[in-house]
């Protein structure tokens, strides 16, 4: 597969390490959220057969974490964003 890195252009997916669903960005607050919320966050997945937003890390590259929008049935990639930007857009900051 080829991931079109927003900074570096097209790179072979072999340079990246995969983590999983980009929902992992939405980490609950450990002091206010309960066990159930953390359980759902850590363990449950939508796991769609179709469009999936997922985290890839450019380990053999610039160390960017990316959010890749990829179809899990066709493997077609329709979007690549810096995870930092996605995190900020989802309200994460400090």
């Amino acid at each position: 597969m080829i991931i079109n890195h927003p900074i570096l252009g097209p790179r072979d997916a072999q340079e990246f390490v995969y983590l999983g669903d980009a929902a992992l960005i939405d980490r609950p607050d450990g002091l206010t959220a309960g066990n159930e919320a953390f359980h759902d966050y850590v363990y449950l997945r939508d796991n769609p057969a179709g469009v999936h937003r997922e985290l890839w890390y450019h380990e053999q590259g610039d160390r960017s974490w990316l959010v890749v929008t990829r179809n899990t049935v066709t493997h077609e990639i329709t979007g690549v964003e810096l995870a930092r930007d996605v995190a900020r857009s989802r309200g994460r900051s400090k």
Partner: protein, 416 residues
């Protein structure tokens, strides 16, 4: 019809006119007591044991494609019970015992062949971990042996002993491990279930579930609504998709695992072997092909196909371990969808919906589990309580912190 050598002789002499269909192709009835969703190995085994061991009737298996078309038809055929953790080992040992009597039980030669499995060890730490594992196996009544380098050499002198990046220091062996002709397992269970009145309905895809007041009433299918008192889902690979019909999110991701077979070769490897310093395991089929595999590709996928990095990685491991195979050829690669669970272990459990039961999360260990999975799922369906060897396979183990994490990788499905 009972299969036997005598029967073959008789049919051979009479032009094979007497062979009857291995199973019927019935039209679905309006309702059943039990519907098993998924006509793969686990679903067929569940139906078989429900009918045979738990004396249940009015059972249907609904299969979206052809019987045995899931992972039972695309795995690398290995059986073993060399597990470490108490949540797993009794179950897999139960499974291995069922394998040992399976062919006589369902009157079908699935070529259960206990030619042994060795896990090669390359470091002292790996040997210590194997010692822990081997002892855990033996405490559970399974067989295990620790081999030293010379014992491995005596078995396979042509492995890379002299020029290895990670020298072979020994192996953990389970002699009762081996291989089984995978398709025949599906067919044997299918035939056995059909003979006991189970309706095996192919080309019947479940498209929804009818649930009222927290209770399942039946399933919507590509061939219409079919009612059921109890529905058991055994659709590994598609678990998330099917259970979403009941509004459930699962601790499972679907990943692609590739498998490989070489051209047919004269006998080279007797048993099963895993490389401890690379992602590679191998056995040789009765037809002569080297059947091998490695890691999953590592990204969520329902595509049933993978990519070159893993193909090359696996074969690099093979060449590092067995430099003599360079002149053999890769014949075919294929991919299956793995239900990768959050701790690498399966789930056989009730769900919050009354009458709806789930069996999945088998990662890439599902084939060897087929008999016990079927038996334990049938037990749960028939008696509403888990079989004693499957008590740990609960959904709530993640909430309680009772994970069964053989590899110690945590909630990263692609690392299990």
């Amino acid at each position: 019809m009972r299969y036997s050598a005598l029967r073959i002789l008789k049919e051979a002499l009479t032009g094979h006119k007497g062979w009857t269909p291995a199973w019927r192709d019935p039209e679905p009835q309006k309702a059943y007591d039990y519907i098993i969703v998924g006509g793969g190995g686990h679903g067929l085994a569940t139906a078989y044991y429900l009918a045979k061991e738990f004396r249940q009737a009015r059972i249907a298996v609904l299969e979206k494609g052809y019987l045995g078309g899931g992972n039972v038809g695309r795995n690398t055929t290995i059986i073993r019970s060399n597990y470490l953790l108490a949540g797993n080992e009794p179950f897999y040992e139960f499974s291995l015992k069922l394998w040992e009597g399976l062919e006589q039980d369902f009157n079908y030669n699935a070529m259960v062949s206990q030619r042994g499995i060795i896990n090669l060890l390359h470091t002292d730490a790996a040997r210590d971990a194997a010692t822990r594992r081997g002892n855990a196996m033996m405490l559970h009544g399974a067989d295990a042996e620790l081999l030293n380098r010379d014992q491995v050499y005596a078995m396979y002198p042509w492995l890379n002993f002299d020029n290895a990046r990670f020298p072979i220091k020994g192996a953990l062996m389970q002699r009762r491990g081996g291989t089984v002709r995978h398709d025949a397992v599906a067919w044997g269970y299918a035939r056995g279930a059909d003979m006991r009145g189970v309706d095996l309905i192919q080309n019947c895809e479940v498209t929804g579930m009818r649930i009222e007041n927290g209770r399942i009433l039946g399933v919507e299918t590509s061939r219409g609504f079919i009612g059921a008192k109890k529905v058991g889902v055994a659709v590994a690979g598609s678990s998330s998709k099917v259970m979403a019909y009941a509004g459930m999110r699962l601790p499972i991701e679907s990943h692609v695992l590739q498998a490989f077979v070489s051209e047919g070769l004269k006998p080279l490897i007797d048993g099963v072997m895993t490389f401890g310093a690379g992602h590679f395991y191998v056995s040789q089929s009765d037809k002569g092909g080297l059947v091998f595999g490695g890691d999953i590709d590592g990204y969520n996928s329902y595509a049933q196909r993978g990519n070159l990095p893993v193909i090359e990685d696996v074969i690099e491991g093979g060449m590092a371990l067995m430099p003599a195979i360079g002149r053999a050829r890769l014949l075919r690669t294929w991919g299956g969808i793995m239900d990768m669970s959050m701790d690498g272990s399966p789930i056989i459990d009730k769900t919050p919906v009354d009458g709806l039961y789930f069996n999945g999360g088998w990662c890439y260990g599902g084939f060897k589990a087929t008999p016990a999975s079927g038996w334990c799922f049938a037990h749960l369906l028939a008696k509403d309580e888990p079989h004693k060897t499957a008590t740990a396979y609960r959904f709530d183990r993640f909430l309680r912190g009772a994970m069964i994490d053989e590899k110690g990788q945590g909630a990263s499905p692609n690392l299990h």
